[in-house]
Symmetry: D3
Subunit: 227 residues, 6 copies
């Protein structure tokens, strides 16, 4: 459960091969493959055009106006990880900038998801360090109050456990529980394999009404056509 | 009036020549030419840089979490149309993605205006299918509940009748009633013809105070200059 | 104090050399150099990618739906100035477009900060006239009601006095009181001089925990590590 | 269509008997009786506990920061009318207070629906003049710019034509087109006649699952019960 | 993990004595006793003055615009339970009204927490059925798409497991994990036992600066007093 | 200027007689008497029905999640003061509850204005300690970071200097600069003296159109009446 002042050193990360496979798919596809669950709120946006990431979560619970736990988390980041920062309250403070990004990147982190603000956005883009955030804000923070690292957190409306797979692209951010990573990757692959055929049909002018046999259920539901 | 479960097949589209003429002007100019009315709310933004569109509306009334009517509308889209989707409630769900866009494009549609969310944004940009939306969200939808097609809808605060002209660019989205399309296009042309001269004067350092003879009315209104 | 119908002709602008020096630093650095104060709210965003500005404030207090004072302010703009527009109420109207920008630019203004909306955004980008705004909206305004020019205003949560230095970049907008401009510029320079060394250490894998000697205070605060 | 500077003197009000009948039902019931359409956005709230109204709409289109049209509308108000005020842009200004309420009440108006702000709220409560508004704000307005009276307006997301029936209570605000008033009143009555029986069954412990025969469709849809 | 189409029949409810004890304390006290965690977002408000509840959670995951799962949940409600409804997306639809409340109450439920809208608010108050909600909205829903019951949900930013204790009052909503209910109740009791003494001191004019020995740490932190 | 870590002991409070006189008028009247300036944003609401206050400001600048400065401010409160708390960032944390209210009340404070959250709302109502706040939230705070007391602050969009008069009622919160208190009180009195006559005329059915001689200016502005 959520508790402040706790750092969990060991976490069970999702299987590396599954993570790699998930990285080939978009957020919308993975969300569908999971049964239409797992998304963060739509206010989570990439801080620069083209940002994209896929990796395993190291979770951080911040206190408002305080980024102390970012430094504690840095030590636990391993190559392939994504830092996922939640806060105990709604906030847009700039908890993260280019210096922390340099540290995180040196540890092998693939990016940051933060239900709060970031700054030094131009530098982050130059560094190629993808961040998905609620806000861009230059507002600095202090280092005075304990939060936690690697406990389950609710980030932008989604539950994230340490080790879960995080995939983020222009369409948003999705969380895949570690234990389901392989199954979801397979389901995403399967789903995508059908898309080419559908796309070709749509391009040829076939209607969804016919492709998905919707005319009868629509009529049954009572849809009335008038002129 | 607004009613669910209705599809109107025939609509009277604005005159094609007027639509073409309107397509030459920006949203701000057209809004002024209409007497400063007709705009959608400012939360309607292009989903990619440089998106722009002009065409005749096919209106769609969606139910929350449900994009069934998108497929019904596809059949009614004609070359030069713009799909305009409203919802019976506030929503950010991702009702629309690249497959539907492929279908709409194959029908000749010029883009989508949606008071809700879209996904597959990178693909939509690659396809060159412009969308103006309230949100980008990967959240998928079902096909279970009837809305309507080609009835009058309120989309992002603006009344849209089927056949109205929709113009959208970086400045927002404006709705021109079909019956006024030609008159508005003419007024926009006239308005724009004055702008070059004004711009030249401003560039030469002439002040609006002088160009528009504002000094006297300002003084009359009581404006006080102090040092 | 805030009063309507007043225009102050003479203002004491921040020292030009200090302004020039401040222009070399980012908003986040300047905000830190000031002791973590002076920022506008994070909803103030550049209207195009890469917008950046630094200059001395000419302040404008607008009435809702009315941009008359923009023209009054134009006359008072000097080379190196930045127009800073607040409104007596929350608003997203499009008070400013390419014609006014042409006028402002001809006067030597470096850009606009507005707690409201702007339009003609594509043209503003082409002109290279940076604007930081709350909204993009084509909604036009009238010229009927007096506001004020060059009085203290609260713009997006920050107090701005005429002559203050305004710096804006991708991270937001910061206000430096004129009397502090030199001291803040010096502090920003000093702060930035330390950053290179820190960055190098982070790149080499040194942790903030060690660089900033955080382990002991964290333990003292009660942080518990578990496996 | 929406146009500024127009006042329509004659409007066709909904049938008085139908209005009276509608006044007996709650907003939720009427909305259902209309087929789940016609509601304003949920940000429209009564300004005091227990406010409730039902009457025929006199519509007002305001300009931001300007309540001139309120006075124009006063002359057109007849006993049983409800003033419905929209604005050409998003606003929270206090367009209306106790003096205007005194005037409206003297004309026989039953209340005000406003997509904006009101003030003198304590006095309005004492007067028993119900208002449903987006905001309470003391911010005053000017009388300088033309809007319109008795044209179709979009108020809080709903289309309102002059003469339509407006019903408002704690659950929100619903608009019934004049031509449908009688039919909707009848449908509401019918709907409500079923509610007593349902309520009694629910009180007796009967489940909706059984009362509405949902178990089979739920199973068919794939609902899985686990222990 | 979150999955749609699942109903869990058996849940382990928090210990009844612990629930009873928790019911004696306010939300702020319980939140502090938990170590300042467990709160829902502040947009969750009581729908009528004086609403208050404490009980064990039966969780519901709704689909947008669809309240089918409310009926499924009704069957699982036991005396002392509180229904906690989340939705797969942001919503303000009116998923719940007086008929469902009658059913829930007949099952012994103590109230509803919903990250969405409710209606029939006056009737709910008359019934004494407390609801804490994001919105009041008359908007009706359909019964067409599967959600889940008694799975872990994120409701208004807080993780809720079935069987957890929910306490709600004017200050908001707090979630106490079932396994911690007794410990938190004890901590709350202890915390409250100190408050009387503190209150008496404050009433007597003792300052927090002295009661909590803050003068020295404030000076150490660098606080400067000027005249 | 805004600086952290500063406490100003001496402030020049507005003249007591002027404060007393201002206390007789409503917020809307005072705002008008000041020339339509001085209001806080409309999101500042009384936390209980009927809350009202008038007094001289002791200003507090808080850090996010930290209420240390509340205790520092308590020592400086004198009978007739109102605490006015701003924060260095947007926040809804519960910085204030019944214990601090007991302390403030014991010092003679008349209430609190806070651009953030409060808790223990029921107790505050019982105590008769009026608070106007952005949010009600049980979220607790720490005491770790310095803010300031009695420096100029921007609170909910309004500049407040220590010693200014704060008047708050159901219509919102207005700030009267200390030096203007007497003049504004006189202007408010004058304004109110005209209202009785106007109200009587409105009650008698006189229209604003006639009382304010609006018909001619409306016609001149181009208003068109149609049937």
């Amino acid at each position: 459960m959520t508790q402040l002042g706790i750092v969990k050193r060991q976490t069970i990360r999702a299987d590396a091969a599954a993570v790699e496979k998930l990285s080939r798919f978009g957020v919308a596809t993975i969300h569908e493959a999971m049964g239409r669950v797992g998304l963060m709120k739509p206010y989570m946006r990439p801080i620069y055009t083209g940002a994209r990431l896929c990796g395993t979560a190291v979770t951080i619970l911040l206190q408002p106006g305080d980024n102390w736990m970012m430094h504690v988390a840095a030590e636990l980041l391993q190559p392939g990880d994504v830092a996922v920062a939640a806060c105990t309250t709604d906030t847009t403070d700039g908890f993260f900038g280019d210096l922390l990004a340099t540290s995180f990147k040196a540890r092998g982190a693939r990016g940051l998801i933060i239900d709060g603000g970031v700054r030094d956005v131009d530098e982050l883009e130059k560094m190629g360090f993808p961040v998905f955030a609620k806000a861009i804000h230059a507002k600095g923070t202090v280092k005075a109050t304990l939060g936690s690292v690697n406990i389950p957190v609710v980030c932008a409306g989604a539950l994230v456990n340490p080790g879960d797979v995080i995939v983020a692209d222009t369409d948003g951010v999705v969380v895949v529980p570690a234990a389901m990573a392989q199954a979801v990757a397979n389901a995403a692959e399967k789903r995508e394999s059908f898309e080419g055929e559908k796309r070709a049909k749509f391009e040829a002018g076939v209607l969804g009404l016919d492709m998905y046999n919707m005319r009868e259920p629509l009529a049954k539901a009572g849809l009335k056509y008038i002129d």
